[in-house]
Symmetry: C2
Subunit: 134 residues, 2 copies
DNA sequence: TACTTTATCGCAACTTAGTTGCGTTTGTCA
DNA sequence: TGACAAACGCAACTAAGTTGCGATAAAGTA
């Protein structure tokens, strides 16, 4: 994310341009996989409560979204990325992005008609062995 | 689960027929939604480490499977149930089972061809508002 | 620039879910 | 009825995340 993009993003959401915030967003900008809070605390010199509070702010503003790998640590990615899922190697823990040919819109439409449940989001991740590990 | 089914299940997996084990399996038998460890500790008079250890045994044996709702508590269901997913109401926390018209086999096959990643399982849950809450 | 307001931050204490070491009990099979 | 491993209880511990509160620092205004 370029400095000018950052400024307009923060302005748009009425967020102050602080050091902690800039550093967290910089990590997300350069990240090639979803990032967890622990990683941020280890890579930014800032108190952990600031990390967790900032993640909540960014999540509430819709700037990032929460991803669940099921290992007890929440992960986050920019929500502006194209909707996708992940291939998680259970051996080496590598993570690849993947998009479905036909995400789940049709299935969700069908479910909503059958059940009158209003679906707002889904969490889908795949687990297995990457090319190297299999 | 009937008593004779239970005995043969335990025998098949070389598991001792203990009180704790019977009670945990009884809870799963009557459950209408995935069960978490806390629920078990609140409903069975047994030490929590026994609960967690037993869940690990049942998981390793493939008798139950782990489900992730993303709220920090692992949930478990009998693995013998027909493969399905869940509709989780973000308002009242109700949980409904749901099966896809065409689960994800085609998508997984396509992903495996494109990426040479070997998919072994997926975790898919839907979030939104149930009929009552929407 | 100085002043005011309020979001943000650091710190420490706390909570919740889950884990581990170890000594004791119990189910199973001979 | 032993022998033996699996299972259990207990207490202490870990890891991820939360909270209260006083201090600091952006951002707007005079
Ligand atoms: Mn991604
Ligand atoms: Mn279910
Ligand atoms: Zn791998
Ligand atoms: Zn509801």
């Amino acid at each position: 994310m370029q400095p000018n993009e950052l400024v307009s993003l923060l302005k748009k959401h009425n967020l102050k341009n602080t050091k902690v915030r800039r550093e967290i967003l910089a990590v997300f900008s350069h990240a090639e996989r979803p990032i967890d809070a622990i990683y941020l605390t280890e890579n930014i010199k800032v108190n952990k409560s600031s990390i967790y509070r900032e993640l909540k702010v960014l999540l509430d503003k819709g700037i990032i979204l929460e991803i669940e790998f099921g290992d007890g640590k929440k992960r986050y990615e920019f929500s502006s990325l194209k909707h996708h899922h992940h291939l998680i190697c259970t051996n080496c823990k590598s993570v690849e992005d993947v998009t479905l040919n036909q995400d789940l819109w049709l299935e969700e439409k069908s479910i909503e008609e059958k059940t009158s449940f209003k679906i707002e989001r889904h969490n889908l991740e795949f687990f297995g062995l990457c090319a190297n590990c299999k």
